[in-house]
Structures are given as structure tokens and as C-alpha cells.
């Protein structure tokens, strides 16, 4: 019998894969970048998913501050873990895209640097989470840190406008409409939405696993005592 998790993975995973296949075979090549631009359909959705994870982190942090509960804390951790994976993917795909277009794998560009900062912050959150011994202390401190990390997102988003940078300026959400053809844009929106849903599903699954492992830990402790 196929479990609920496998079904979810097959469903959301296949929607994401359909988007990639369309990106590879359906949309036309870009006028200036040629075929290499197709990585956009992976790079942009994973970066949106990373931002979305930070949004989920912020939401659960506020929730935990208003009404402290273990569920919100575990959701924060799940969001950070998934967010870290998506941020690393954003950096990796950006680097792969950067080599043929900018000529380098890495540059200390504003957008790239601020995204790296986000990855470091996600990783720091995980270290911090484990460094606080008491659960109540962890609830408060991690929630506060979660809000501070989420405050970094507008800086990353606006970095291409604020600083002189190699990274291209905002292409989709900008005054005067998107600077892409409609079929490219619709596919990008599709890929972004499916990746966001997939990210949300991953966060929920990870939260579920964390709850189970916590329950198991408590059970073992009670048996021991």
C-alpha cells in the first residue's frame, strides 16, 4: 500500500517535473542568452520557495510569541531546514547560470551575497536552536531570531535596486509590466507556484517527522525514568 507521504511526493513532485519538461522542450530559447536561460525555471522558483520558507518561519515565530506552543517551534525548525535547502539550491543554480552569462562561478554581487547571508542565517538558526538547553527559552529566543531573519528578506529582494549589481533587476514584478514574453512568463508562474506548493508540503512533512521524533523521545524518557 502506498503511504500518504509517497502519494504527496509523487503528486507534487510530478507537477514540478512537468514544469521543468515544459521549460526544456516547450518554451522558445531566449533572444540574448539562448538555451542557457532555461535554468531560470529552476532558479527563480527555488529562490521564491526559500523566501516563502522565511515567511513561514516569520509567521510561526509570531505565533509562538503570541501563544507559546511546541507545534509552532517545530514548524519554525521545519521551515528553516527546508529554507536552507532551497537557499543552497538557489545559490547553486545561480552559480551554474552565472558561469556562462557573467563568466564566473561566483561574484560578490549584492543579490548573491545577501542570498548567501540568508543561507548563513538559516544555518545559524539551526545551531542556535540546538544551543539553547531549555524548551521555554528556546521557544522565545528562536522565535525572536526567526523574526530577525525574516527581516532580511526585503533587503535581499530590494538589493538589486539599492546596490549597483551584476544581477539583473526585477523582471516580473516591476513598474511597466514583466519584461518577458507571455508564454515564458506563464510557465515561470506555473513553475513558481508548483515549487511553492512543493515547498509547503515539504515543510509540513518535516514538521510531522519532528513531532513524531519528539514524541518518541518523550516516550523513551518516560520509560527510562
Amino acid at each position: 500500500m502506498v503511504s500518504k507521504q509517497v502519494k504527496g511526493l509523487l503528486l507534487w513532485g510530478s507537477l514540478v517535473v512537468v514544469g521543468w519538461l515544459l521549460a526544456l522542450f516547450w518554451v522558445p530559447p531566449d533572444q540574448s542568452q539562448g538555451e542557457v536561460y532555461r535554468i531560470l525555471y529552476l532558479h527563480v522558483p527555488v529562490s521564491f520557495a526559500a523566501f516563502f520558507s522565511a515567511g513561514v518561519l516569520c509567521w510561526h515565530s509570531i505565533q509562538a510569541l503570541i501563544k507559546p506552543n511546541v507545534g509552532a517551534l517545530l514548524s519554525q525548525r521545519a521551515a528553516v531546514e527546508v529554507g536552507l535547502v532551497f537557499t543552497i539550491l538557489t545559490l547553486a543554480t545561480g552559480s551554474i547560470w552565472g558561469k556562462p552569462t557573467w563568466g564566473v562561478w561566483w561574484t560578490w554581487d549584492a543579490r548573491v551575497t545577501t542570498t548567501l547571508i540568508l543561507a548563513v542565517l538559516f544555518a545559524s538558526y539551526l545551531i542556535f536552536y540546538d544551543a539553547i538547553p531549555s524548551e521555554l527559552g528556546r521557544m522565545k529566543t528562536c522565535s525572536i531570531l526567526g523574526i530577525v531573519i525574516a527581516a532580511d528578506i526585503p533587503i535581499i529582494y530590494k538589493s538589486v535596486n539599492w546596490w549597483r549589481t551584476l544581477h539583473q533587476p526585477q523582471t516580473i514584478i516591476r513598474s511597466g509590466g514583466a519584461s518577458m514574453s507571455s508564454e515564458m512568463l506563464y510557465l515561470l508562474i506555473y513553475c513558481a507556484i508548483t515549487m511553492l506548493v512543493f515547498g509547503f508540503w515539504l515543510i509540513r512533512q518535516r514538521r510531522h517527522t519532528l513531532i513524531l521524533s519528539k514524541q518518541l523521545e518523550e516516550q523513551q524518557l518516560s520509560q527510562f525514568s
Partner: protein
Amino acid sequence: MNAVSQFKTLFTFGLKNEWRHKERMFTPVLFSLAVILLFKFTSASFSEDIEAKIMIGQILVTCFLALQIILQRTFELDDTDGVFTLIQTYRISPSAWFCAKFANIVLLGLLVIVVLLVCMNVLNPGQSELIWMFFVPIALAVLALSPLGILLSALTAQANGRQILFPILYFPLSTPVLISSSSVCLQYATDNAVGSPSAWLGLLVGMSIIFFTLCLLLFAELVD
């Protein structure tokens, strides 16, 4: 006792405490002097415009690290004196506590900047006018970074391995402020050849206000 009186008492007490433990007060100043002298004696001679750019880096790095020393020890004395336990029975306003700490740190930060700039002035007599132009952007950076540092210091106070955790959290969060501050300095050094500094100064002021408000609110939540 209302919040304003509490702020005044805590601020004065904080200053007296710093004065009583003079090594706390003078360590960041001596540290910055030692670093800037090391920079001077180890760097080679370059043309005037490159010298100016190197100088910005030297001043900012030194100031940033000295500020980190101040911030990392913000709650050291409170921890030793058992303030975190005392506030459970004797209620003080978290906002007053935060503002008093903020004022103390900004004062110490300004002391470091002034000493640093005087020292740079002595070491680079030809650049005197330019060096004093750096005061405003660096002071604004201190204003923006202090609330963040206080909050992180309070967050990591109870954590295991806080000496490592504090810089891990503080460095990435402080990057936008440092970039803005160095950009203003660079524009002064290049005589506004790479753009106007007013946008960067506005960003620094904006970040100072946002960080102060956010950290003030979160600090109150933390010690509640």
C-alpha cells in the same frame, strides 16, 4: 518609578559600572588603536586614491570589531550580578533597560570612533579633512548595529557556546549596514564621483530606525 526614571537610573548605573570596571571600557579602545597601528605598519604605500579606499576599510573593520567586543559583553555584568533573576521579582521596564543599554553602547561606540579617527589623523596628516567626514556614516552604522547587537547578546546569554554563536549571528545581519556605511565613505573619498551619498545615508538612517524599533519590541518579548 516610571520608565523614564528607570531609564535614567539604569543609564547612569551602566556608565558608573563601565567606569568602575575600567578594563571593560578601555579594552575596545586599546584594541582599535592596536589594530589601526598594525594596519599602518604592515601596509605598503599606494597612490592617494587607493590609500583613501584602504583607509575606509581599515577604519570600518577596526570599528566593527571593537563594537563587537562591546556588544558581546553587554550583559556580562548583569549576568554576574544576577539581574536576570532579580527582574523576576523586581519589575523593571524592558524598554527602559534596552534604551539604557543602547545609550551606553552608543556612547562607548562614539568614544571608539573619536579615538580611532584622531589616531588615523595623526598617522595620515594629509587626509585630515576626509577622515573627519567619515564620522557621520560610521556613527550611523554604530546606531544601526547597536540595537541588533544588544538583542543578539541577550538572545545568546543563555546559550551554550555563546562566544561563537554571537558572531555567527551578528556578522551576516550587519552586512547591509556595513555596505551602506562603506559606500558613503567611498563617495566622500572619491568626491561623489560614484554617485550621491544622500541615498546611502537615508538607507543607514532607515536601517537604524527599523533595527531599533524591531529590537526594542523583541527585547521586551524576550525578557517578559
